[in-house]
Symmetry: C2
Subunit: 450 residues, 2 copies
């Protein structure tokens, strides 16, 4: 088994029940870590200590009385700063929204509060969850990017400042920073977690979870969905009230994805070791070399990044056009360029793009008849040096375009730096993916290289 | 042919091109009507005359130079006050949002501006586009409701204060007020017009158009969609750049819907006359008595109102819960009751409801193999007396639950009061419905009763 990150919340519940520990004490340990690390990591845009302490005290009373609101009652969490909160501004990594607040909570934040979770702070996002980085550094090496766009959420969880955090992904914004920062990262099936009150409007946008353990990850997601559902009209995440039992898969597909070409030798070696462990555990691994179905999927995955970029550009036309009207000087050049790209497109070309996406999704879905899940890397390498880019999303984008669930499992390290192994599932079978992931964690253990 | 409403914009284009009329003059005629009528009709929450005049002058120059931006360049329009505008507050019929502005335009409003339309003002909505009425009166009889929730949009268009307006519908909020106020009303297929920046989050929510003529209705919708698309991930309204040519249908279904029981004898007579005209024009009309497919659809339509209410209640859990947290005293009792109803529901019961909805939609879709469109009333009667209720949505809710396009055609009058004949189409075949509606208008003409 891998060593759990310091702030596993599920593992603290026994102490809360026995009285040996309390949510308030748990929060204070998080605050200690935040005070020690955040001045250099810069994961937060806002922290609400007074409200957090009051909420933790209320949670402590509930646990003492044996009436916690849920299995995440008292969990300290962070909220990516594109998701609205009533008590802290929502600034979206943009000067245009400096100090801005809508005055209310998003659906997910409200659900977290209902479940007793402690909203500690807002976490840094790239500008509008797109490209321009915020100030956050990688907690494992401050000269490196934490990844993006859920930069602060990944850094806060990966460093043990928090047990969990909300993120969003439309290209690689949960899986990539989770990989770089050593957090568990979960991008659900499309519509799995209600996006109401989150500024992520695109058709591939998902709200997801970054957390210290697989158990914490599931618990945050399921507690939200029980209270807020998925996106309107969608079934939302379906599964048991606690983490599904680990279930050994019979067959997995190893997907190189277009990322394999970009992967470093260390990263490839980490993946090869993971595959060797899985084979040793008796799991059959299909690859492009021995399976026509896998080869067909590999073929179409080459389209996922350029197609995603075209779809996202059109879907960003609004609100970027109204942001530009408001004050173009407060937008990055990248955002303005994206708008110009979008304005050169037509709705007809967009229709062709989403039709192609639907065809790609259908091809991938057929693979589900042959394998329990797919595995690949979460990123082509550990976090790169430099804060000017949030890294390469190439391994994360397939699940985004496909609309299927993905988990980044922090099982590998190259030197002191984490690298995620990614498990990708099938539409609306998120609970099955968690069950498979439980077995992968057991079978792979921890991989140390370099 | 029915007499067009006074503010038909399409019919003014010839004058703009020849120089006999200008968009600024057209706007001034609207303003004259607004100044004469709105003090008593109360259709607007905000009017931006200075900006409207400046925009109309710019449009006048473009027409003069022979370079209009679109066929709605210069059209004076109103925006339902749940849809965001950069230059006027968005108050959603709620004290909670008094004076509130997000600082930017919705996707549709931005598209209208790109097309040269003149955003004259914000129009009254019921509280959060739900039940509690605003102050608007029916322009044809001030003692009567204009219908809701797109109350101000319908009253402004029906009285000739504007050529067109945006509305939204999740139950009956476009079709019903269009019927009561004598406007054309169009609720598109699900996702047909981009809802970005509109506070209508529910899975049946649609943004739609109310206008003076069928031609204006189509033009507003298609100009928006060419610039902003449909909802992200949807194809959006597909069709020609100008109103599709009228096309005589071979077969229509007359649907009584659960509304027939509630319809007054005058309203029934209006429908019977319309059906007689259609038969006389050579169209075959199927009814529940002579078609098993129609009978099956009639059977399931009985479920549409209660099922819609259950789905909407769950989907209103957020944001109502965060509104209540903010200030419960600023919400109506009806809104708070709806939240309590929603909080007693589970996500599992919601899943059952949307599964049932999907089954109902599939049954309706099969009827599309036998008929070109369906016809029925838009409301069980003319606008009822009193402003405390916006009337019965029973005839409008089927298309809302089915997710299919619907048009209210202002073809009947009982005394001086309008009543709509409704045409209902099939998913994403909105252009076909407009083509059929063109023929229905010709065949039915105007019906005067009482």
């Amino acid at each position: 088994m891998t060593t759990p990150l310091p702030r596993s919340f599920a593992q603290a519940l026994g102490g809360f029940a026995s009285g040996a520990d309390t949510p308030r004490d748990f929060l204070e340990r998080c605050i200690e870590e935040i005070e020690a690390r955040d001045p250099e990591v810069k994961a937060f845009t806002a922290i609400s200590l007074e409200a957090a302490r009051a909420a933790a005290d209320a949670s402590t009373v509930r646990w003492h009385e044996g009436n916690p609101l849920s299995a995440i009652d008292g969990m300290p969490v962070g909220i990516k700063d594109v998701i609205e909160t009533s008590d802290m501004p929502t600034q979206m990594g943009s000067e245009l929204f400096e100090g801005w607040s809508p005055g209310y909570d998003s659906a997910s934040v409200h659900a977290l509060r209902e479940a007793g979770a402690i909203i500690v702070g807002k976490t840094v996002t790239t500008e509008f969850a797109a490209t321009r980085p915020g100030p956050t550094c990688n907690p494992h090496d401050l000269t490196r990017t934490p990844g993006g766009s859920s930069s602060g959420s990944a850094a806060a969880v990966g460093s043990g400042m928090l047990s969990g955090a909300l993120g969003t992904q439309v290209v690689g914004s949960i899986i990539r920073p989770s990989s770089y920062c050593g957090a568990y990262g979960y991008k659900p099936s499309l519509g799995g977690i209600n996006r109401g009150g989150s500024h992520d409007y695109m058709s591939q946008s998902c709200q997801g979870v970054l957390a210290a353990t697989l158990e914490d990850t599931w618990q945050i997601a399921i507690e939200i969905v029980q209270r807020a559902g998925g996106d309107p009209g969608q079934t939302g995440l379906i599964g048991p009230a606690v983490l599904p039992d680990a279930k050994m898969p019979e067959t997995l597909a190893f997907l190189e994805t277009p990322g394999w070409e970009a992967a470093t030798s260390h990263a490839r070696e980490a993946m090869e070791r993971a595959l060797a462990s899985l084979r040793k555990a008796g799991i059959k691994i299909l690859t492009r070399k021995d399976s026509a179905a896998v080869a067909e999927v590999e073929e179409i995955l080459g389209e996922t990044l350029p197609l995603t970029r075209k779809i996202n550009a059109w879907e960003s036309r609004w609100p970027l056009n109204t942001y530009v009207d408001r004050d173009v000087t407060k937008l990055s050049k990248g955002m303005v360029d994206r708008l110009h790209e979008a304005e050169a497109m037509t709705v007809d070309s967009y229709r062709e793009n989403i039709a192609r996406r639907a065809a790609i999704r259908a091809i991938y879905a057929r693979l589900g008849q042959q394998v329990d899940a797919c595995v690949t890397l979460s990123a082509p390498d550990v976090a790169p040096v430099g804060l000017e880019s949030t890294g390469n999303p190439v391994f994360a984008v397939p699940a985004s375009l496909l609309g299927v669930p993905a988990l980044s499992l922090p099982l590998a390290r190259i030197g002191a730096l984490p690298l995620g192994i990614q498990a990708i599932g099938f539409l609306d079978a998120d609970a099955d993916l968690f069950a498979t992931a439980g077995s992968l964690i057991e079978a792979i253990g921890s991989i140390q290289l370099g």
